[in-house]
Symmetry: C2
Subunit: 250 residues, 2 copies
């Protein structure tokens, strides 16, 4: 029933631009900032790089499929990915948007629990699960970093669940925008519009709304003067105070 295009393979063998994987997460223990920060130091990244290859995917490519044997874990370097579950009704539920610094494919117990598709051209480190498992078992320090990252992702998933629990479309959209914004801030401190690499339909599947509701909510927010679209993919928060009032979990 579910269409299953083959997993796209585009191994590029160029040299890493960086010393190694960048894994971002808010720290596990007490710390000043709650913002995601690079988790690995140069040496740790280098150890990881030894088992990694770099792989690139064009926009729309499938990285892996729900139910497939989980052979690889990915660490996104550039671009954005969505992970989703597709149901027999044709409906989809997006479980996460994956950004640079994030891990993907780790959550499967032997098999991937969701399908991953590139929503922009993507470059990522790819770790054979087998090698990664061996490495982590023998490298306690590195394993601790992974534990931090997964805890971070768990928090993010719970936060997503809180967003989904809201019953007003505009509130969901506001919380979603703020989530994206935090990501931006983490990347650079420049105040720039929030970039929406995903389609309205993806947003709908992520927030548990119809795509029409997403479209209408964006419009209402813009008409109220709370946000402003530069174009369909770039939004600015115009009225911060009212925006925050909406985005505060209700």
């Amino acid at each position: 029933m579910v269409r299953r295009p083959p997993t796209t393979k585009y191994v590029r063998s160029y040299r890493p631009a960086r010393a190694g994987p960048l894994i971002a997460a808010a720290p596990f223990m007490r710390c000043d900032s709650t913002l995601p920060a690079p988790l690995l130091n140069a040496e740790e990244a280098a150890r990881l790089a030894l088992i990694a290859s770099i792989i690139s995917f064009p926009k729309g490519a499938w990285l892996y499929h729900e139910g497939d044997e989980a052979d690889f874990v990915y660490n996104v370097i550039e671009g954005e990915v969505k992970t989703f579950c597709a149901f027999s009704s044709g409906r989809r539920r997006v479980t996460a948007f994956v950004f640079p610094g994030d891990l993907m494919g780790l959550a499967g117990n032997g098999r991937y629990i969701s399908t991953a598709q590139a929503i922009t051209p993507v470059t990522a480190y790819r770790f054979p699960l087998r090698s990664l498992d061996d490495l982590l078992r023998s490298d306690s320090q590195l394993e601790h970093r992974f534990l931090c990252k997964v805890c971070h992702d768990l928090r993010a998933a719970q936060s997503h669940a809180i967003t989904l629990g809201r019953r007003d479309a505009r509130g969901k959209i506001a919380m979603f925008l703020r989530e994206l914004e935090v990501n931006h801030v983490a990347e650079s401190n420049v105040a720039r519009p929030i970039f929406l690499p995903m389609t309205r339909s993806d947003v709908a599947d992520y927030l548990g709304l119809s795509l029409e509701a997403v479209s209408r909510s964006f419009r209402k927010l813009e008409d109220s003067g709370i946000i402003r679209f530069d174009d369909r993919r770039d939004v600015r928060i115009v009225d911060r105070a009212r925006f925050e009032k909406l985005a505060v979990a209700l």
Copy 2:
């Protein structure tokens, strides 16, 4: 604004009935079963027990509060706990129900991200975060177990998000019941009614519904002959086929 009863402290210093903590999770790597299974062997449990104390809480007690310094991690031995976020509107969102074999309090980055309250009398192992962190750093094997467990919880949180994404109350209820049922099966293979330790209001806050919608959905399912209540807290699946049709993510 938010009422904040003091964290209840009832340290009981009896000897553990078991050799040590029981942490349940579906395995990380490929494996036959996807059901949660005990993750620790006797030796691992013993090592953990060295830094643990056993603590008991009466029904309704607060284990910790959102925003508090995260000093302890808990492993539930008996009883059930809910973790939730309370908002200024007085509304609550239940992020998880915690059962025996589960971990709690691990996800905070220095501070707890939710409030934990016992919904039945609870007994739990309590690990000082500081000691646990030291132990995990020095005990790679044990750390790997924790990584498995957190991955498991991440999957569970994403599954929760999928449930929340549904727009029909009955479907949400069905998925919720199945989630509880899997938990039961893991505990023992006996076919017995599904026990609902939480209130309808808790269920509503977990599923993003009003408590009236929860009540009505239960009734509709019972009137349709799909489920049957022995009493308000014990449900049986009467018509498995139709139940599964509902519970399949739509």
